[in-house]
C-alpha cells in the first residue's frame, strides 16, 4: 500500500476516472508548475472501484473547464490547514474558446486566423459544442 500524506494547503483533484489521471496531469500542465504535485493511479474507490487522484501543494488555482471536458464527474477539494475549505465539481463549460477547433472543414475558422470560434454547449445530453461561425456541432472530450 502506497501512502501519501495529507497536504497542508493546496488542491486535491478527486474522482478522476481510473487511467485518466495522466491526461489531467498533462492538460493542466502540472509538469510546468513549480508547486509539488503527486498523481495517484488506480486507487481503490467505494463508488467506482478504482479512481485516480492528483494532489497539488501550495497552489489553489485549477481550470475547472479543462477538468469538465475530461470528465464532469471529477471533483476538486481546496485545502487550507489540512482542512477542506471548499469543494467544487468539474462541470462542462457553457462557453469555450481556445481549447479545440471546429470540426467543419468548410468553416471559416479552418483557414482564417482572425476567426477565433467560441463554442456553446448544446443542451442535448451529449458533449457537443456549437461553433459561433458555422453552427456545426463538435463533439468534444479532452
Amino acid at each position: 500500500m502506497i501512502e501519501v500524506t495529507a497536504i497542508q494547503k493546496g488542491i486535491v483533484i478527486d474522482h478522476i476516472p481510473a487511467g485518466k489521471g495522466l491526461k489531467v496531469f498533462e492538460k493542466l500542465r502540472l509538469d510546468r508548475r513549480k508547486s509539488p504535485s503527486v498523481l495517484l493511479m488506480h486507487v481503490s474507490s467505494r463508488k467506482r472501484g478504482t479512481k485516480d487522484i492528483i494532489k497539488i501543494q501550495d497552489d489553489l488555482t485549477v481550470d475547472l473547464r479543462i477538468l469538465g471536458l475530461i470528465d464532469p464527474g471529477i471533483t476538486v477539494n481546496y485545502i487550507e490547514n489540512e482542512q477542506i475549505i471548499d469543494k467544487k465539481e468539474a462541470t462542462l463549460p457553457e462557453k469555450v474558446s481556445g481549447l479545440f477547433a471546429c470540426k467543419n472543414p468548410r468553416c471559416i475558422t479552418a483557414v482564417d486566423e482572425c476567426a477565433q470560434p467560441e463554442f456553446t454547449l448544446v443542451p442535448n445530453g451529449k458533449i457537443q459544442y456549437r461553433c459561433s461561425y458555422c453552427e456545426e456541432l463538435t463533439e468534444y472530450r479532452l
Binding site: 468548410r106 471559416i108 483557414v111 482564417d112 482572425c114 459561433s132 461561425y133 456545426e136
Partner: protein
C-alpha cells in the same frame, strides 16, 4: 412597425431580424413592387460594395439591380481571383478597406461563417449573400415575399423541401425561418446522404419542438403539401465527383408527379435549376420560381434601404 430598427444592422443569419422586422420588410417589399418609381432616388449618393468570393449570377445581379433601381451605385468584385484575396490579403483587411468605400457590403463566400467574420471588422452593414452550405438569408426573404404575395398569410402551411438538404443553404435559412411562423408542418424529402445537417435538426427540434417528417419519397407527401421547395443537388458542395453523379438525378419533379398535388400548391426553387424540375412543369400555374426570382429584387431593395437607413418617399 417602422424600419428604423434595421438601420446599421447586419444580416448574417435570418434570425438576426425579429418577426416584426421581417414583416415590416415584407410590407415594404410589396410596396416597392407595386410602385417602384416612388423609390427610384432613395439611395442616391449611396454605394453598395459587393464582395463575391464565389460565382453567383442571380443573387449578385438582383442585388445590383435592386441598388440601381434605388438610385444608388455599385462597386466590388465577383470573383476572388481578381480581388486582393488572390494576392493573399486576409478577409478582415479586405473588409476594413471596403468599409470605407461603400455604405453597405454584400458578401458571398465559400467558407461557412465568413460573413460573420466580415461583420466583426465592418462598421457598415454586412449582408450575407450565401456562405458555403450554411445560410442564405436574403433568399429566405425572397421566398417569404413570394409566399406573402401569392399565398397571403404565412401560417398553417404544409411545406416540403426536396433535394439536397444537407448542403442547400437556402433550405437551411428558410426552414429555420418558417419554424417561427405558426402552424407549420415540414416534410424533408431527400436521399439519406443529403438529409439536413444534424446540428440544424437538433436546433429546430430543441427550440421549436417541431416534428420533421423525413422521407426519401416525394409521393409520401405530395398530396398534402401547400408549398414544395425544390433544390438543386450542388456539385460544388461535394468533395467527391462519384457521389455527386450517384445522387444528382434522384429527385426530379415532372408534370406527372404533380397530378395528385393540391390545386393551390406553390412550387418554388431558388434557381438555378439543372434538371430537378423538368421544363414541362414551367407551364403549370403552380410553378412560381420565376416570379420568385423577380421578388428577389424587390425584397433586396427593401433590405438595402432599411439597413442603410435612407429616407423613403
Amino acid at each position: 412597425m417602422n424600419l428604423e430598427s434595421l438601420k446599421g444592422r447586419h444580416l448574417i443569419d435570418p434570425e438576426d431580424f425579429t418577426m416584426e422586422e421581417l414583416q415590416a420588410l415584407l410590407d415594404l417589399g410589396l410596396k416597392m413592387e407595386a410602385r417602384p418609381e416612388d423609390y427610384a432616388d432613395c439611395c442616391k449618393g449611396k454605394i453598395m460594395g459587393t464582395l463575391f468570393y464565389e460565382p453567383s449570377t442571380r443573387t449578385r445581379l438582383s442585388f445590383e439591380s435592386a441598388m440601381l433601381r434605388l438610385g444608388g451605385q455599385v462597386l466590388g468584385f465577383s470573383d476572388a481571383a481578381v480581388s486582393s484575396a488572390a494576392k493573399g490579403e486576409s478577409l478582415a483587411d479586405t473588409v476594413r478597406v471596403m468599409d470605407d468605400y461603400a455604405h453597405t457590403l454584400v458578401m458571398r463566400h465559400p467558407r461557412e461563417g465568413a460573413p460573420k467574420l466580415a461583420s466583426q471588422y465592418a462598421t457598415v452593414p454586412v449582408i450575407n449573400a450565401g456562405d458555403g452550405g450554411h445560410q442564405h438569408p436574403t433568399q429566405t426573404l425572397t421566398d417569404l415575399l413570394t409566399l406573402q404575395k401569392y399565398r397571403g398569410a404565412i401560417e398553417n402551411l404544409q411545406v416540403a423541401f426536396c433535394g439536397d438538404l444537407l448542403f442547400g443553404r437556402t433550405v437551411h435559412s428558410l426552414l429555420k425561418t418558417l419554424c417561427r411562423f405558426p402552424g407549420m408542418t415540414f416534410y424533408l424529402v431527400s436521399p439519406t446522404e443529403l438529409r439536413i445537417p444534424g446540428h440544424l435538426r437538433d436546433e429546430l427540434q430543441h427550440r421549436y419542438h417541431i416534428t420533421l417528417h423525413e422521407t426519401p419519397h416525394l409521393d409520401d407527401c405530395i398530396e398534402k403539401i401547400d408549398l414544395l421547395y425544390m433544390t438543386r443537388i450542388q456539385k460544388e458542395r461535394f468533395f467527391n465527383e462519384e457521389e455527386y453523379v450517384k445522387l444528382k438525378d434522384s429527385f426530379i419533379l415532372t408534370r406527372d408527379k404533380l397530378k395528385t398535388a393540391k390545386e393551390d400548391l406553390m412550387v418554388l426553387h431558388p434557381l438555378p435549376r439543372v434538371n430537378e424540375i423538368q421544363y414541362e412543369v414551367d407551364e403549370d400555374p403552380r410553378a412560381r420560381y420565376f416570379e420568385q426570382a423577380t421578388m428577389g429584387v424587390y425584397i433586396r431593395m427593401a433590405l438595402l434601404s432599411a439597413v442603410m437607413g435612407v429616407k423613403l418617399a
